[in-house]
Amino acid sequence: MSDEHNGFHAPGTFVLAIIFLVTFILLWLGHAKWLTDIWEMY
């Protein structure tokens, strides 16, 4: 089995996990942008 998937045990899950990570990063970047829309504060 491992030969067929380049040593990956769970290639499907790996693809899902990468989709998850990309979503996560994009959402996070969205918030980093929205934060700059508010008034300055410290």
């Binding site: 769970a10 499907g12 959402l27 918030h31 980093a32 929205w34 934060l35």
Partner: protein
């Protein structure tokens, strides 16, 4: 040791008699309170839906208090007490070490719950479930919470007594099975969290009796969240243990690396406690470094643990299904998975929704600066309906579908309804959670009776897109209520009326 037990023909589990009755009792009680908590959720939902605005103001806050307590505390923790018994007795093929302790747990938790509900709906505790001082409730309200907490503390301690007895009697040799290991991690976190609970509810109880003069509001928030957040990690741990359990029962799935998964549970135990301070990121008093180190550095290691589990569980399911021959391409295993089995579909839905809805937003809203633009808005409510509802609650639903035939020896009634239920509930909660977050992005506050501010000295109108989100929250919530009711009918119906097995 010999004790009374039977072998379950569905699962092959050996079921000991004393623990069996406690698991049944706690599970059934949990589901009944899930039903009441859900009804409270419906009333709150219909009040926040501007087109309906159902309840008068004081009843909105009362039912909101009741919904938070019944759903978050009572449903979840009764179910967890059942899981504690399952993980420390059934899975270890052992016996319930001290049966009377389980009965005391049940009595205290039920008594506490009833006291709390009477106080809240009797209008003696209009404080919401966080009861931030100097808001004050009737002393019996705090007493009810304390009774409930002591009961669950005894259950978590009982885990360790059972596990030690099982080891002494030779039921396992070196380490616990993974699922029990997860439930053990949850029990450790449970004990830590109730220690915070004692540190805050006992003084507050004395304060409500007039014995203590004041409670510092800022210190209250710090310690209260030591309970409030840490206890959410009990839920995450228990949820992950259920994921591993269902994957193992249905697919004989084995985590690719026991090493990594067990280490991830240890990360939870080590780092979750301080993470509770992400509730205080825009509070005065705490310094910047204190906030960053406590909530974030350490919380992110706990998040890392969740990312490990979120990969390991579906990976083990994938490997199990590939072994069964669904080995073509990337996703044949996923297409051919047993979607008609609600134990599986609920588990998979829980994994996906917990990650995408609850997990991502939890880390983002828990980032020190991002808290400025999300704190106390409806986005937070949307976030935790992604964790504790879409994640934990749906995982427990899957576990209930699996455990009811095993422990009650009855078939599930209405299998067609059961088959659809996780999808209906999951869809409803997804819409509810996303649209709550969208409304919160525009500043709609949580815990707020009048989104039109009609009695305020200065009126305010939200951006008109918010009206659409408010309506969608209502629609998503109604779908979720239908899904919740389907769950209650199927499970309670099966418990009382399902076909008896031999």
């Amino acid at each position: 040791m010999s004790f009374e037990k039977r072998t379950c023909e569905i699962s092959g589990l050996e079921i000991e008699k004393n623990s069996e009755s406690m698991i049944k009792l706690n599970m059934a009680t949990a589901i009944i309170f899930f039903a009441i908590g859900g009804a409270a959720g419906l009333l709150v939902l219909l009040t926040r839906w501007p087109a309906i605005h159902l309840l008068p103001v004081e009843w909105y806050y009362r039912w909101l208090t009741a919904h938070g307590l019944l759903a978050l505390l009572v449903w979840i923790i009764f179910f967890e007490v059942a899981l504690v018994h399952f993980g420390s007795v059934t899975l270890l093929k052992s016996r319930l070490a001290v049966p009377i302790l389980s009965k005391i747990t049940y009595g205290l938790m039920l008594g506490g719950t009833l006291l709390v509900v009477v106080m809240v709906l009797g209008g003696q505790a209009d404080v919401l479930f966080t009861s931030y001082v100097p808001l004050q409730a009737h002393p019996l309200y705090y007493l009810g919470i304390i009774l409930f907490a002591v009961g669950s503390l005894i259950a978590f301690i009982h885990f360790f007594i059972n596990a030690v007895v099982a080891k002494k009697e030779g039921e396992y040799k070196r380490t616990l099975p993974m699922v029990s290991f997860g439930i053990m991690a949850a029990s450790i976190i449970g004990i830590m969290s109730i220690a915070h609970g004692a540190a805050i509810y006992i003084p507050t109880f004395l304060w409500s009796l007039g014995i203590i003069e004041t409670i510092d509001p800022s210190a209250y928030r710090l310690v209260w969240w030591g309970l409030g957040h840490t206890s959410q990690q009990i839920n995450v741990c228990m949820m992950v243990a259920c994921w591993y359990g269902i994957a193992a029962f249905l697919f004989k799935a084995k985590p690719a690396s026991e090493k990594l998964c067990r280490s991830a549970f240890v990360l939870y135990i080590l780092f979750i406690n301080v993470a509770s301070e992400h509730h205080l990121l825009v509070d005065p008093v705490f310094s910047t470094w204190h906030k960053i180190v406590n909530t974030s550095y350490v919380m992110h290691l706990a998040v890392l643990a969740s990312m490990i589990h979120a990969f390991a569980v579906p990976a083990s399911i994938e490997m199990g299904l590939r072994k069964q021959g669904y080995n073509n391409g990337l996703f044949e295993w996923l297409k051919k998975a047993p979607w008609g089995n609600p134990a599986f579909s609920a588990t998979f839905i829980s994994i996906v929704l917990f990650g995408f809805l609850g997990g991502t937003t939890g880390v983002i809203f828990g980032t020190e600066q991002f808290s400025i633009i999300r704190h106390n808005t409806w986005a937070i409510t949307g976030h935790f309906h992604g964790t504790v509802v879409a994640g934990t609650t749906i995982a427990f639903m899957g576990m209930a579908y699996f455990l009811i035939p095993v422990f009650f020896k009855r078939d599930l009634i209405m299998p067609g309804v059961a088959k659809l239920q996780p999808f209906v509930y999951g869809t409803g909660i997804t819409i509810l959670s996303i649209t709550m977050m969208a409304a919160g992005t525009f500043g709609v506050p949580r815990r707020h009776w009048d989104y039109n501010f009609s009695d305020a000295p200065f009126g305010y109108q939200f951006d008109s897109t918010v009206d659409i989100f408010m309506g969608l929250v209502g629609i998503g919530g109604l779908i979720a209520v239908v899904g919740g009711a389907m769950f209650v009918f199927v499970t309670l119906g099966s418990i009382f009326k399902g076909n008896k097995r031999a």
